[in-house]
């Protein structure tokens, strides 16, 4: 029964990303017919470069959504990790690999802190992460006085800019992270347990899965992913900015939700998240190519979130109606 429910959720998710794929193909074709600049290899590079970080930010929220929770501190933590990284490189002159490792550890620990606070206190994760996000932002602003770190090693910033043809190096990191995450959620016991908690909390607890442990796990993974995004973002920008995550909160919800991750938990879509980031990047790119007001991005992002959630509701209602009809027909035959 549970398995069937799960499979049905997955099949819904699959339809979801098919629609996104069609949207991307149509959008890309339309843009390339309309604006010849779209096809240029440089534009492809810009497009792929911009989605690399966005996808990981989306993943950071997606893992938390998987258990039916949310993490409002993604942006603030991203800024904090960037600041810590910048400080280690510019002020303490640590070697790059060590600095990156420590930055990852910072994200992981901060996420762990979120998770432990939520699990121990039993307070709504919304409030806890709202509070910690304020604390993280305050710390990164207080430490830097809002002045970014510019003296980063050349090898690091070059990595952020270099590309293999139109494929930026950063994208390969994103692909690797996506594969690892898909494997973790789809193939491991832990991943299955997390999705089970999201699907039905009570049922999962009754079958012996610890809710508290799951909360700590997802928040730790989320913190780690935020750290990856912050490191990649810093490499791309060429400077460690405390404001790097300023607009990540909205993006982090938009990307997985448009990609078909259920808000109430239990169903995630790694591919959907990937494609949704692509849709948003295409939208941005198109708006820039037609030289529209940059403010349209914000407006359209809001519409896109509402539209995709609304569409999901319609699909669920349609399926329920269809199933009910099917049952009634069967009954009448008997």
């Amino acid at each position: 029964m549970k398995l069937r429910l799960f499979l049905r959720m997955r099949s819904v998710a699959r339809v979801d990303w098919l629609a996104l794929l069609v949207l991307i193909i149509v959008g890309a074709l339309g843009l390339s017919l309309w604006q010849s600049r779209f096809d240029s290899s440089y534009n492809m590079y810009v497009l792929l470069r911009s989605i690399s970080v966005v996808i990981i930010v989306g993943f950071a929220q997606m893992v938390v959504l998987a258990v039916g929770e949310l993490n409002l501190s993604v942006g603030a933590l991203g800024g904090f990790v960037a600041v810590v990284l910048g400080m280690m490189l510019e002020v303490w002159h640590l070697p790059l690999p060590l600095a990156i490792l420590l930055a990852l550890a910072t994200g992981l620990l901060a996420g762990l802190l979120n998770g432990l606070l939520i699990a121990w206190s039993g307070i709504n994760g919304f409030i806890i992460t709202l509070a910690t996000s304020s604390a993280f932002t305050g710390m990164s602003l207080g430490l830097t006085q809002s002045i970014p770190f510019y003296q980063l090693p050349a090898s690091f910033t070059q990595f952020g800019e270099s590309a293999f043809g139109p494929l930026p190096y950063v994208l390969f990191v994103t692909l690797l992270v996506s594969l690892l995450l898909a494997g973790l959620l789809g193939k491991t016991v832990l991943g299955r347990q997390l999705l089970a908690v999201g699907g039905n909390r009570a049922a999962a607890e009754l079958s012996g899965i610890s809710l508290k442990r799951s909360l700590v796990w997802v928040h730790s993974i989320s913190g780690l992913l935020v750290a990856v995004a912050a490191i990649l973002g810093t490499a791309q920008l060429g400077s460690a900015q405390p404001s790097i995550g300023a607009d990540w909160v909205l993006t982090s919800f938009a990307v997985p939700i448009i990609g078909g991750t259920a808000l109430l938990g239990g169903s995630v879509s790694v591919i959907g998240t990937f494609l949704a980031a692509m849709v948003i990047a295409l939208m941005n790119n198109g708006l820039i190519l037609i030289q529209a007001d940059p403010y349209w991005v914000q407006f359209l992002l809001g519409i896109l979130i509402l539209g995709s959630v609304g569409l999901g509701q319609v699909r669920v209602a349609w399926r329920d109606w269809w199933r009910k009809r099917g049952k009634e027909e069967k009954k009448s035959y008997v």
Binding site: G68, E69, L70, L117, S121, G122, I123, N124, G125, F126, I127, I128, L130, A131, T132, S133, S134, A135, F136, T137, G138, M139, L141, G142, Q145, S146, L250, F253, I257, L263, L264, D293, Y295, W296, V297, Q298, F299, L300, L301, G302, I303, I305, L306, V309, G310, Q313
Partner: protein, 340 residues
Amino acid sequence: MMDSKQSGQSRIFSGWRIFSPSTLLRVSPQVGLLLVNIVLWVIFGLVSGGFLSSFNLFTLGRDIALFTAIGLAQMIAISMGEMNLSVGAIGGVAAIFAGWLMQVLGVPILPAAILAVLLGAGMGWFNGWLVVHTNINSFIVTLAMASVYTGLLLIISKAQAFSNLPLGFINFGQASIGFFSLIIFLVLVMVVLLIVLYRNSELGRWMLAVGANRRAAQFSGIPVGRTLQIGHALSGLLAGLAGVLFAARLASALPSIGVDWVLPSFLAPVLGGTVLSGGVVSVVGTLLGGMLVESITNGLNLLQVNNFWVLFFQGIILLLAVLLDRLRAVVAQRKGGSKR
């Protein structure tokens, strides 16, 4: 998402045991907040000379009032078990709309302000309409609509500020009786109206019932959909009011008004004992919560603590407050259990 409904129950305590330590933990958070506020004022008054100066009391009072208005807007949404992440966006739109009406169209101050506040109510109502008719979680609806409202505002206004506002409007923002800003009185009127709404009106009880248990509310014949829409409209109305008052305070309608309201809007009601999952509300608590946060911010600023760190302390305060409240609820529950 978990939350305890017990904290509402713990607020009932028998009068004759007030002074025992265990009951101190069980005392309502509002009384605790008042005590904390008083202690803080005494400390800041002693430590920093400027805290109790009449000029500082004027600005502090005004900031508390504005902060409380933002908190009340969120409190209404929370009382119904909803959220309104678009308080800031609505406040910004209302501020710019009021500025545009006054500066460009030359509309007199009062009608312009009323129209702007009504626009806020309209935006809130639309949030509610979407929540009811699409059945999408209010978190997502208001998150997306915040983006839509702000986007529309910036597209239409081209991110332009309105700084040539009528003198009367600017004077209103600076006016005071004694060292009480006029804005305080306006917000106090709102506080009283909301107390009456929740205590004595059918709508207030409907809103709490919807927040406490939506299904039960539906089965007992409460028009849940209409209640949600009116509640969201009220939340938008207060957010719009806060936006207009903010413009008066700044003497300029800036598009950046409201950008950083989301955290503060939750701080005041949650500190004041409004339960996040809905059904329990404290209007006075929101006022006291707003007072606490603004007093700390103001006091820290006077003590030369860098503004950037103030944000850090706000986060820590919220964290400590919810943890303490949780501890209080747990202790109260344990005591209540052992008594039986």
